[in-house]
Amino acid sequence: MEIQFDNVAKCYKGKYALKDFSATLGEGVFGLLGENGAGKTTLISILVGILRADGGTVRADGRDVGAQGRAFLADLGYMPQYPVFYRDFTVGDFLLYMGALKSLSPALARSRAAELLDTVNLSDARDKKIGALSGGMRQRLGIAQAMLSDPKVLVLDEPTAGLDPGERIRFRNLISRFAPGRTILLATHIVPDVECIATEILLMRRGRLLMQGAPEALEQSIAGKVWEATADLEQSRQLAERCCIGNMKQDGPLFSLRIISDERPCAGARPARPNLEDVFLYFCQDGDAPCA
C-alpha cells in the first residue's frame, strides 16, 4: 500500500506542530527520525486517525483515507508509545480482545494470536497476566496485537523506548521479519534503531520534513563534513565551542573526537565516513548549537 502525505499541517495554539509535510511511503520500513517534539507523534496520530489535520491530505493507494473510513483502519496496525495495556488481562485474552476490536472472528483471532505469539516468542507467556510481563515482553505483545489483522500498514511509535540492548535488537529483527509486503512507519529518536532496518529515513525537525531517502543517501549528503581528530583536553574544549562533537572518547591523556563540521575543524583532522547519527546531529541540533 502506498501512503501519500500531501502538505499535511497541524497547529496547536497558533504554533505549528506539523507544517507542509509531504512524503510518499511505499513498501518497506520507513524510519521517522527526529528529536523530541519534532512532530513525529503528531504525524502518526494524523495517519492513524487519532488527530484531525488542519490542512493537507493523507491518501492510501491514491484514495483519501478519510473517505475510506473503517476500511482503512482494517488495513492498519498501530503500536502506541509506552503501551501499558490491561494489567489484569492475560496475554491470550488481550489478543482475543484486540481481535474483537479488529472484527476478526473468534476462531481466526485465536489462530492468528497463536501464530503471532510464536513469532514474537511469547507462547509460554500466553496465560500470564500482562501486569507480570517485562518491558520487552510488553513491547513484543504490542507488535503482536498490531499485526493481528495482518495489516498492510504498520505504525510503530517509539517502539524500543526503555528497552535494554538485547530486547532492542530482538525487536528490530521482529520488525524486519514483518516488513515484506507492507508499509512500516517507525518513529523514533534512537538512531541505531532505524539505521539497520529502514529502507528509507524521513528526517523531521520542528514539524517539517527535512529529508527523505535511503540511509546511505542521507549519509552521502554530509560526505566531507565528518572528521576524526585527536586532541588534548584544552583543544577539545575549544573544538566543542566551535563545532559539533559527535563522539568523544578518552584515550590516555588525549581524546579521540568525531567532529561534524563543514570545514576541517583543526589541523590533523582526518575525513571520516558519515553515519546516520552524524546526519541526525548535523540536521537536528538546536538552532544555537554549532551543528546547525
Binding site: G69, D88, K102
Partner: protein, 405 residues
C-alpha cells in the same frame, strides 16, 4: 456482544473489584447478623425457655388466617398475664414453672410484641384502609362538584389503591420488617458501583489504550457503546447481588423466610405503601428501583470521568457529587417535597422514601405515583446522559458519527 463481554471483564475482573466485592459481601453479612443479634428479641439462643423456642412453639398455633377462635385463644392467654403484671407486683422469679419463658413479665412482653400487637395491627388494617378509601371516595365526589379535576383524579387513584386492602393472615414479620428497612447495603452498593465504573474511560487514557482503541475498526463509538452496556450490566449485577444477599442474609440470620407472602402493608412501616404487593414481589420492585437509581447515577459517574486524564479527580468528584445527592435525598426523604424526592436518585436507591408512602405528583394534570415518576425521570436522565457520552466520546477522525450504522 464480544466487545460487551470484554468491557465487562475489564470492569469486573480486576483483582481490586473482586476483592471489594467479596469484602463488601462479608461486611454486609456481618452487619445483617449484627442487626439480628442487636435488635431481635428472638436472638436469645435455643434454650428450652428462650423467646426463640417459645415463640416458634406458639407460632404454629397462631399463624395463618386470623380467625375469631385464634384471637380468643390469644387473648385468653395474654389478658390474665397483662392483668397480673399491670401493677408490677407479680413475681419476678426467672424460673417460674407456670410461665412459658420462666418469668411472667417476659411472657407478657413476648406475647405483646410478637403476637398481640402484630395480630391487632393486621386485624384492624382492613378497617383503617377502608376508612382511607372511603375518605378518598368522598373527596373525589367533592372535587367533582367543584370541578377540581386533578384533585378528583388523585382521590380516585388513592381510592383504587386502598379499596379492598386487608391483612387476613397472621405471620412472622420481624425478618421482613428488618429486611425492608435495611439500608446499609446501599452504601456498599454505591461505593462498589462508584469504584467499578468511575474509572471506565480514565483507565483507558492512563494506559494509553484510548489511542490504540481508536485505531481499530470497532474501537471508537462501538467500544463506547459496549462500555455503556457493560457498565450498566455491572451496576445491575451489583444491585441484584446485594439485594439477594440482603434477603439471604436476613433469612439466614433470622432463621426463616416466613412472612414473605404477606401483603407489604402488613408491616407497619409500609402501611401506606403505594403498591399492593406481597413482601417478596415488593422487594423485587425495590431492587429494580435501586438498580434504576444506581444506573442513572452510574451514567452521571461515567459522564464526569469521560474527559478526565487522571483517575483520582473523577473519583473524588463523583464521590462528592454522590455524597451531596445522598445527603440531599436523605434530608427530604420523609418530607412532603415530593418533586425533590423524585428528582434525586437517592430516593430510588433507598426505596423507602418512595415506597413507604403513597404520594402523587401532578404531571400534566394527572396524578403519577412518586415512585413511578422517579423511575421515569431516572431512566430518561440516564438515557440522555448515555446518549451524550456516546456522542461526545472521542472517535477516530475517519469514522465520524454519520458513518455509524
Amino acid at each position: 456482544m464480544r466487545l460487551v463481554w470484554y468491557e465487562f471483564a475489564k470492569l469486573f475482573c480486576r483483582r481490586s473489584v473482586l476483592v471489594l466485592f467479596v469484602l463488601f459481601s462479608v461486611i454486609n453479612l456481618a452487619k445483617i447478623y449484627s442487626e439480628w443479634d442487636a435488635y431481635s428479641f428472638l436472638a436469645d439462643g435455643s434454650g428450652e425457655r428462650s423467646w426463640h423456642t417459645v415463640y416458634w412453639q406458639l407460632y404454629d398455633q397462631y399463624q395463618g388466617p386470623i380467625t375469631p377462635e385464634k384471637v380468643q385463644q390469644l387473648l385468653a392467654t395474654w389478658q390474665p398475664l397483662a392483668q397480673a403484671t399491670a401493677d408490677m407486683t407479680a413475681s419476678t422469679a426467672t424460673d417460674d414453672a407456670n410461665s412459658l419463658t420462666g418469668n411472667l413479665y417476659s411472657d407478657r412482653n413476648l406475647l405483646e410484641k410478637y403476637f398481640v400487637d402484630p395480630m391487632q395491627y393486621c386485624y384492624e388494617y382492613g378497617d383503617s384502609a377502608a376508612s382511607v378509601a372511603e375518605k378518598a371516595r368522598q373527596n373525589a365526589e367533592r372535587a367533582a362538584q367543584v370541578n377540581s379535576l386533578y384533585q378528583q383524579r388523585e382521590s380516585v387513584a388513592l381510592y383504587r389503591i386502598y379499596a379492598g386492602r386487608a391483612v387476613p393472615d397472621f405471620a412472622y414479620t420481624e425478618m421482613a420488617n428488618y429486611y425492608l428497612n435495611y439500608d446499609f447495603s446501599l452504601i456498599l452498593v454505591l461505593l462498589l458501583g462508584l469504584y467499578g465504573v468511575a474509572g471506565t474511560f480514565v483507565e483507558e487514557r492512563e494506559t494509553q489504550m484510548d489511542r490504540l482503541l481508536l485505531t481499530n475498526p470497532n474501537g471508537g463509538s462501538r467500544t463506547v457503546l459496549a462500555k455503556l452496556v457493560a457498565a450498566s450490566g455491572f451496576l445491575l449485577l451489583v444491585t441484584t447481588w446485594f439485594s439477594l444477599l440482603d434477603l439471604a442474609g436476613f433469612g439466614a440470620a433470622f432463621g426463616t423466610l416466613e412472612g414473605l407472602d404477606l401483603p407489604v402493608y402488613a408491616i407497619p412501616s409500609f402501611a401506606e405503601a403505594p403498591v399492593s404487593l406481597s413482601v417478596l414481589p415488593f422487594a423485587v420492585l425495590a431492587a429494580a428501583l435501586r438498580s434504576a437509581g444506581l444506573w442513572a447515577l452510574g451514567m452521571v459517574w461515567l459522564a464526569v470521568s469521560l474527559r478526565s486524564r487522571n483517575a483520582l479527580v473523577p473519583l473524588v468528584a463523583n464521590f462528592a457529587l454522590t455524597a451531596v445527592l445522598v445527603v440531599g435525598g436523605a434530608s427530604v426523604a420523609y418530607s412532603h417535597f415530593v418533586w425533590a424526592k423524585a428528582l434525586d436518585p437517592y430516593s430510588l436507591l433507598a426505596g423507602r422514601p418512595l415506597l413507604a408512602q403513597t404520594e402523587f405528583l401532578d404531571i400534566g394534570g394527572f396524578p403519577v405515583l412518586s415512585w413511578q415518576a422517579a423511575l421515569a425521570i431516572s431512566l430518561v436522565a440516564g438515557l440522555v446522559i448515555a446518549a451524550a457520552i456516546y456522542l461526545l466520546s472521542p472517535r477516530n477522525t475517519y469514522c465520524p458519527i454519520r458513518r455509524l450504522r
